[in-house]
């Protein structure tokens, strides 16, 4: 139970229960100064995912880094060692913990079937299988091996890709290899935008 929840509990009991219920609360529940919350928390270095200043981050997650603790990030602050930001962060960076833990994160592969109005949870295997099927059908039907001059062009124009500009280089390179090996030309990135 964190401090806020504790307050809420106190408040709800104030509103709903009798004097005696509150009388049971320990007299010295909290010290005047809050405990420093990062002691011994697992610290990981990272870089901000927003703009290209590339500020250094220190991310703090629950657990000792032991195998049984599910690490989840509860605090992110600037890395004072980083030569560019020297510990500082802009408001977006300072609020990163709520981005990582956003209630709007996607959790599972889902599909929306044509004409329907809802998501259906599917397995990764099903997702990969269905996407590959759709791709192959389209590629086999619309792949252009030679242009009108007879030059080998090997392009596939009826499928395209809008790629991420926040994933690491390594993911981006995999993306590039994936796309070009299939013959995709129409790949673009939000670098233009």
């Amino acid at each position: 139970m964190n401090r806020r929840q504790f307050f809420k509990l106190c408040a709800s009991s104030t509103a709903t229960s009798a004097i005696s219920a509150l009388g049971l609360l320990p007299g010295k529940a909290f010290a005047a100064v809050r405990e420093f919350k990062l002691l011994r928390a697992k610290e990981t270095r990272n870089n901000c995912c927003y703009c290209s200043v590339g500020c250094g981050l220190l991310m703090y997650s629950h657990g000792s880094n032991g195998k049984n603790a599910e690490k989840s990030i509860f605090h992110i602050e600037g890395d004072a060692d980083h030569p560019v930001n020297r510990g500082s962060l802009c408001p977006k960076g300072a609020g990163l913990v709520d981005y990582v833990n956003s209630p709007n994160r996607n959790h599972f592969p889902e599909v929306r079937e044509p004409g329907t109005n809802e998501w259906k949870r599917i397995s990764w295997n099903e997702a990969f299988g269905r996407i590959a099927r759709l791709m192959k059908d389209d590629r086999d039907a619309n792949f252009i091996e030679k242009n009108s001059d007879g030059t080998t062009v090997n392009r596939w124009l009826s499928t395209g890709m809008m790629t991420s500009s926040a994933q690491p280089n390594e993911g981006a390179y995999i993306t590039h290899k994936f796309a070009r090996s299939l013959g995709l030309v129409a790949i673009d990135t939000i670098a233009r935008n």
Binding site: T14, I19, L22, G23
Partner: protein, 214 residues
């Protein structure tokens, strides 16, 4: 004990009001005294926690002041200033030292009690008004900070005055034996009246009662 005829001094409704005021007033005092003298915050422990004391205090205060004002309205006619009153006041020393022969005759209430009455009128009204102004979180947000600050000051001043007068009231009531019984059971003896409020016996509306027990 024998049955005796007694004189009705306080009607049942007024007595209930009085003791209700005493009870909630005690709660208001215990929960409120710590605000003024934080060293006595432990008095508020009767509410459970200091937070609960803060929560209870304005409610107890209001529950005290409203019946008190009701009593005050009902007792208004007993507390009109009379001719003899000034003489009595001047003879206060004799009153305190029981020089009975030198004390001017007075009625249902003596001028000292009338002063007490007036004090309670003023303080209860001020306490209610200022108390509401500073009542968090329900009313205070509607008032300006400066107004609330003065309300806090006035509230404290009135509370202290009221407390002092309550002490005096208590002191007098316990000193003048028979008074407490009068407020408890409503009646006082004819002799008690004669000694302390002789003019009361001249009241044409005077009522006597027969009591089974003392």
């Amino acid at each position: 004990m024998h049955k005796q005829n007694k004189i009705l001094r306080h009607k049942l409704f007024d007595r209930i009001c009085h003791w209700f005021v005493v009870a909630v007033g005690l709660v208001a005092f215990l929960t409120g005294f710590g605000f003024f003298f934080p060293s006595f915050q432990w008095l508020g422990a009767i509410a459970g926690t200091p937070q609960m004391a803060r929560f209870v205090h304005p409610i107890a205060g209001l529950m005290m002041c409203l019946p008190l004002m009701l009593i005050l309205v009902r007792y208004y006619h007993h507390n009109k200033w009379e001719k003899n009153d000034l003489k009595w006041m001047l003879a206060i020393k004799d009153v305190m030292f029981e020089n009975e022969d030198k004390i001017p005759a007075i009625g249902h209430y003596n001028p000292g009690q009338k002063v007490l009455f007036r004090t309670f009128v003023v303080t209860s009204v001020v306490l209610t008004v200022t108390g509401i102004m500073m009542w968090q979180p329900y009313f205070a947000p509607y008032f300006a900070s400066a107004a609330i600050e003065w309300a806090i000051l006035l509230h404290a001043v009135c509370a202290v005055i009221m407390l002092i007068f309550v002490i005096v009231h208590f002191w007098m009531a316990t000193w003048v034996e028979g008074s407490v019984a009068g407020m408890l059971y409503g009646s006082v003896s004819r002799a008690w009246c004669k000694k302390h409020h002789p003019n009361m016996l001249n009241d044409p509306k005077l009522k006597t009662i027969k009591q089974e027990k003392h």
